[in-house]
């Protein structure tokens, strides 16, 4: 076993330096705080990117699976998409249930115009949106069309009652659709300081979580233009650094512990039964402010349809109603005993207006259903608070998912 020899020189240094303290420059703490901020932001961004990639990946997998597993014999799809773009005369075969529809299959049938069966042709029914449904699952069906008559497809042969023109009119979409959605938001505040404490309050508060869930009602004004409105419920949670709050005389003359946040202020209850005196302090830790809003948006959007995909951009306004505002905190007394408290947050406007810009990428997964990848940016037009140390203008950027049901 190795022995730790104690040399006189060693002892001299140990005795003189073990309890010695040296003061680093003041800038070190600022550097550490900045480095931590950068790291936390990087972590948050990485987490968000990972979640976004996961959501996009899952959406992609869902879309691919949906595409691969499409049973063409049940839903033939929009036959007009199979017709050649030059409107030349030709034919197309709707495969039977046993045959998978592929682009090659469509090409082959167009070029070769095969007639699979001359007799016992199956029934064909139109089923909304220009799609056809096969009622039988056995026979492939060949459809012919004449030049420049893409909307008129005669059956090649078959029973007399079916040997007529089958109208391939585009299906009539309803004008109204609904869209439930969820957005994860990256929120922040723009500030205007009203007094000298404002900057300090800004520094010690950071938004930790923000999300919106809601339903949009879409009204198609035309093929491209939409009007969107609905109802959304937003939740925002901010973390406030621990601090000592000192008792001050309030406006009504009472002495109270006022905790300021970027969005408002709360009055902390004294942890002891004694009436607080001016200058008394309480220590708060684990402080979070919770803001909940109900919003009604009104958005004008423009849609770019691309077969099953469509992109949509829009801009509009939101009317926001404050639903709830509370502060959750742990108050420590002089003995460091913890007292948990949920306190109302004062100084917030009951309503405010904001602007919204949004973009959607949508994929049709059924006759009536679309899955949407959403992004939005919201900013309030005025401060959300009154009589506060600072005026706060919240903004947020959200990404999320939604589903659209077309009536």
């Amino acid at each position: 076993m190795e022995e730790h020899n104690s040399h006189p020189a060693d002892r001299y240094f140990q005795e003189n330096l073990s309890f010695h303290e040296s003061d680093p420059s003041r800038k070190i703490w600022n550097n550490i705080a900045n480095e931590l901020d950068r790291t936390y932001k990087r972590e948050k961004l990485n987490r968000s990117i990972n979640r976004f990639i996961l959501a996009a990946g899952l959406t992609g997998i869902f879309v691919l699976l949906n595409f691969a597993l499409t049973d063409y014999s049940r839903t033939a799809g929009n036959i007009q998409n199979l017709l050649p773009s030059n409107s030349a005369a030709g034919s197309v075969v709707i495969p039977s249930k046993q045959e998978k529809f592929t682009p090659d299959f469509a090409r082959m049938t167009r070029e070769n115009n095969p007639v699979r069966q001359k007799t016992n042709l199956p029934q064909v029914q139109k089923s909304g949106l220009g799609a056809f449904t096969r009622e039988d699952n056995v026979m492939p069906l060949t459809l012919h069309w004449k030049e420049n008559q893409k909307n008129t497809v005669p059956l090649e042969s078959g029973p007399a009652e079916n040997n007529s023109l089958v109208k391939l009119q585009p299906g009539k979409r309803g004008r109204i659709s609904i869209e439930p959605f969820f957005l994860k938001e990256f929120a922040g505040y723009n500030f205007a300081d009203n007094d000298i404490n404002g900057e300090e309050i800004e520094k010690r508060e950071r938004t930790m979580f923000s999300a919106t869930v809601g339903v949009l009602v879409n009204y198609s004004l035309s093929r491209h233009w939409l009007l969107q409105t609905g109802l959304a419920y937003s939740l925002s949670e901010s973390n406030i650094d621990s601090s000592a709050t000192y008792a001050k005389k309030g406006d009504n003359g009472t002495i109270e512990f006022r905790l300021n946040t970027v969005s408002g202020y709360s009055f902390l209850n004294s942890p002891s039964s004694a009436t607080p005196k001016i200058g008394d302090s309480v220590h708060t830790n684990g402080t979070h402010s919770h803001l909940k809003y109900i919003s009604v948006p009104l958005i004008v959007s423009y849609r770019f349809p691309m077969k099953r995909f469509s992109a949509l951009i829009g801009a509009g306004a939101t009317f926001n109603v404050l639903s709830s505002a509370v502060v959750e905190t742990d108050i420590y007394d002089a003995n460091f005993s913890k007292h948990e408290a949920w306190i109302p947050l004062n100084g917030l406007k009951k309503t405010n207006f904001g602007v919204i810009v949004k973009a959607e990428f949508s994929y049709q997964i059924g006759k009536r259903w679309n899955i949407n990848l959403l992004s939005s940016f919201k900013n309030t037009l005025g401060p959300i608070n009154l009589n506060s140390a600072i005026s706060a203008y919240p903004y947020n950027f959200g990404v999320g998912l939604g589903m659209t049901y077309q009536f």
Binding site: E2, H4, H7, A9, D10, Y12, F13, Q14, N16, L17, S18, F19, H20, E21, S22, D23, P24, S25, I28, W29, N31, I32, A33, E35, L36, T39, Y40, K203, R204, N239, D241, S242, S243, N285, G286, Y332, F336
Partner: protein
């Protein structure tokens, strides 16, 4: 080397640790204020200059705050932090060594001129004389004398042989002893 944890109650330290885990900036600042003095002395001993010590201090505290949730309450909190700062110092030593491998020679060692002129030894002078040691000597001296590591542990940490560790310590002691003798003579 328990310095601070006796000064503050366990409950208060726990509150600070919890606050730091929750990334509360106020708690982080309090913890920094509480330990920065002691840990900066540690950094000064391992660094060759005040500037380098401040860089180690900064790196160390950032690591502490980013990994504080990994503290298992198995030993003292200060001990856990000291280990992080020693690792930061070792990492910097290895980086410097890779960049420019300096072979310490006794003949090349020069005592800081202003120190030799002083007639009283201050703690900050002791730190400066440690700082002026060749890097390999400084690391071995700090790890063995100030932190209580054994030679075989130092050999693993610094990737040297046990013999080199012992030899470096011997040389470091001689330099420091020479400095102390000279200072005492001047004082007499």
């Amino acid at each position: 080397m328990e310095i601070k944890e006796s000064d503050i109650s366990k409950a208060e330290l726990q509150r600070l640790i919890n606050g730091c885990i929750a990334r509360d900036r106020g708690s982080q600042k309090e913890l920094y204020s509480l330990y920065s003095g002691t840990l900066f002395t540690l950094c000064l001993r391992y660094a060759k200059s005040r500037e380098e010590a401040e860089e180690i201090l900064q790196d160390g505290f950032v690591r502490v705050f980013l990994h504080i949730h990994q503290f298992k309450h198995a030993g003292s909190f200060e001990g856990w932090m000291r280990r992080i700062f020693i690792n930061c110092s070792l990492q910097r030593f290895r980086e410097n060594e890779r960049r420019c491998r300096v072979l310490p020679l006794m003949e090349e060692y020069q005592m800081p001129a202003d120190m030799a002129m002083s007639n009283r030894i201050f703690e900050k002078d002791l730190i400066r004389v440690i700082q002026s040691l060749p890097p390999a000597y400084r690391m071995v001296f700090n790890l063995y004398v100030m932190e209580g590591f054994k030679h075989r542990e130092i050999a693993v940490l610094l990737n040297i042989s046990v013999g080199t560790s012992k030899s470096n310590l011997f040389d470091a002691r001689n330099i420091l002893k020479g400095y102390l003798m000279r200072e005492l003579k001047i004082a007499k």
